[in-house]
């Protein structure tokens, strides 16, 4: 069973890797966008899907990463990709500062506050905060990423950079999911009181999930800045946060294949049906309602975990 699934993913991955060879630059670029949103979705998935924290301001952390890359690259000419860790750091620190006082708020309140944070960040960027964000026009002239002497310029070159990053992201979050940390998050999402009773420091774990997710979004912001070479506040609006959130909910919150599928559906489908672009958000809105009523877990829901108790045969173990 496990073998078959791995095989499916390998085949899908191989097909995807061959795509740029046959697709024109436009469609390759669509795949690049899907990749960026897939990575953003995976990072948000840790916060929403695993920790159960409703974050509708993820674009703020994405923006912090993108602006860190853009400012340091244009001012000090540091290569963009070398700034990846720093982007993660700034976004993570920002998330820590923002989330620390609000992490204890109940689900829907947290949701509202994150919307507020997202908006404040966007307004701050438009108002050219500290005089370094370039106001409503944003920052342009970010240099192309340079990988071991190879300047990445064309969409199909970016394709491999971005999807390598997505693969690394999926691997990282897959490992994290199955770690002690991931189990603790799932526990506190299902039953916070019981988790606390079992000695899990819920506030700490929630905060860590928030910070790791945000830091990862900061790195995606770096890639975005490198790909676009120009960034402006409108790229980090509330709707970006909604898109990331929607793709998780539709694909399957807490499930990595689900989030990847969600990215393809939410970002890719409107490109396939051009006339559908205007109606896409309306359809997604309706789909979110329908999904909650008929299939709460999303299209590819996360599988309930089974742990085999030591000393027992498989199949006899406890249900959870």
């Amino acid at each position: 069973m496990m073998e078959k699934r791995t095989l499916t993913y390998l085949v899908l991955g191989a097909v995807l890797a061959l795509c740029p060879l046959v697709l024109n630059p436009y469609w390759t670029d669509v795949l690049n966008n899907i990749g960026l949103y897939a990575a953003l979705g995976l990072s948000l998935n840790l916060i929403v899907g695993h920790a159960g924290l409703f974050n509708l301001g993820h674009a703020a952390f994405y923006a912090v990463g993108a602006y860190t890359a853009a400012i340091l690259n244009t001012m000090f000419h540091i290569p963009v990709l070398a700034l990846l860790p720093l982007c993660a750091l700034t976004a993570g620190i920002f998330a820590l500062l923002v989330a620390k006082p609000i992490i204890h708020l109940r689900g829907d309140y947290l949701c509202i506050v994150t919307i507020g944070v997202g908006e404040i960040v966007r307004i701050a960027l438009i108002n050219n905060i500290f005089g370094i964000t370039g106001g409503a026009n944003g920052i342009f002239g970010i240099s192309r990423p340079n990988l071991f002497g190879l300047v990445i310029r064309k969409p199909h070159e970016f394709f491999y950079l971005i999807w390598f990053f997505v693969a690394a992201t999926a691997f990282f979050f897959h490992r994290l999911e199955n770690s002690r940390f991931g189990r603790a998050l799932n526990y506190l999402r299902e039953d916070e009181t019981a988790a606390e009773g079992s000695g899990i420091d819920t506030a700490h774990y929630k905060l860590m999930a928030f910070v790791i997710g945000a830091a990862w979004a900061g790195m995606v912001g770096n890639l975005y800045a490198a790909k676009m070479t120009i960034i402006s506040p409108e790229s980090f609006s509330f709707w970006e946060s909604v898109l990331m959130f929607t793709l998780i909910i539709l694909g399957g919150s807490g499930s990595i294949p689900g989030v990847l599928l969600g990215a393809f559906l939410v970002i890719g489908l409107p490109e396939v049906f051009r006339g559908f672009t205007n109606a896409r958000m309306m359809v997604f809105g309706a789909a979110m309602i329908a999904m909650m009523i008929f299939r709460t877990g999303g299209i590819l829901p996360a599988k309930p975990r089974r742990y085999i108790l030591p000393g027992r045969e498989e199949g006899q173990g406890g249900a959870a």
């Binding site: 509708l56 609000i102 708020l105 829907d108 307004i123 809105g285 309602i289």
Partner: protein, 301 residues
């Protein structure tokens, strides 16, 4: 002083609008413990329906302007109330027994659905209300000139809020709404039809939100399909500020937020106007999550 007074009256008028919208949030929250994210979009629907009815029926020409606007307001309230009730039936009722967060996602979905449906119907551009329906005169109050529109808006919202307050306090169904807000199960045991209470809440809240949308259209003259979520968020902030679930709280919070925002925009920075409301929201939730007159919202970790 002149400047301050103008900003104050402006803030009071805007605050009245916030308060009307906030009432819808607070009533739904009181009974269902759900943040109705689609409420801001019901407000937008109100302003678009108002525009359509205004231009297609030309009520203000057939009747006297004042009577025309009144009839228009009643029609908008009725229609938006129906939309609100439908929303509850389709998006929230099936999720009554589900985890809270499922209903929140459904509410977000409804919000996205409504705002984009409006965009598809009316187009993405700003729509303009016909001018000259409300008299553009200023009233002299103690030597200071205040536009009449502001006074009308504040007066209309205060009248509606008082009507709602007495409705909630004095009538049978109002008492049932209060009972269901305190404890749904106990209310049900006492023979209160909670489904009917929820239906009423989803008729009254959207009606008030819809009429607020009409007011914004008449006052500012232009409307857009995305405006609902900014107004919605601010009204929600107002509801939190006053204490969510608390009807007088929503009124006080709305008017207070309107004034804070107007004065902040005038004396701090106009560019940060929208950020002020969100800043207030975050500070309130951190410092005093119960709001000025409200119930407890934060869960201790």
């Amino acid at each position: 002083m002149e400047e301050f007074f103008q900003q104050l009256t402006n803030g009071l008028a805007v605050g009245g609008i916030y308060a009307l919208i906030a009432l819808g949030y607070t009533m739904v929250y009181g009974v269902l413990k759900l943040i109705n994210f689609a409420h801001g979009d019901l407000f937008t629907i109100g302003s678009y329906l108002g525009l359509t009815l205004l231009t297609s029926l030309s009520l203000t020409d057939r009747l006297a302007p004042a009577a025309g606007v009144l009839v228009l307001a009643v029609m908008v309230m009725g229609l938006v109330a129906v939309v609100g009730a439908l929303l509850e039936r389709v998006a929230y009722r099936p999720l009554r027994q589900s985890p809270r967060l499922s209903a929140v996602v459904s509410a977000l979905g409804a919000s996205i659905f409504f705002s984009n449906a409006l965009m598809l119907i009316y187009g993405a551009r700003f729509q303009v209300y016909p001018q000259g329906i409300l008299p553009k005169v200023a009233v002299n109050i103690f030597g200071l000139y205040v536009p009449l529109v502001r006074i009308l808006i504040l007066a209309a919202s205060v009248v509606m809020m008082l009507a709602l307050y007495f409705f909630i306090q004095k009538t049978r169904i109002g008492t049932a709404i209060r009972a269901a807000a305190i404890d749904q199960d106990a209310a049900r045991l006492m023979g209160i039809d909670v489904d009917r209470v929820i239906l009423f809440v989803f008729l009254i809240g959207p009606a008030l939100g819809g009429v607020a949308g009409l007011m914004v259209g008449l006052h500012y003259g232009q409307i857009n399909f995305t405006m609902g979520w900014v107004y919605g968020l601010k009204a929600f902030t107002a509801a939190i500020l006053g204490g969510i679930g608390n009807i007088p709280g929503a009124m006080v919070g709305g008017i207070l937020l309107g004034v804070i925002e107007a004065l902040g925009a005038a004396y701090l920075s106009i560019a940060w106007k929208d950020a002020i409301a969100f800043g207030v929201l975050i500070i309130i939730l951190i410092v005093r999550p119960t709001g000025l007159l409200g119930e407890r919202v934060a869960e201790k970790v």
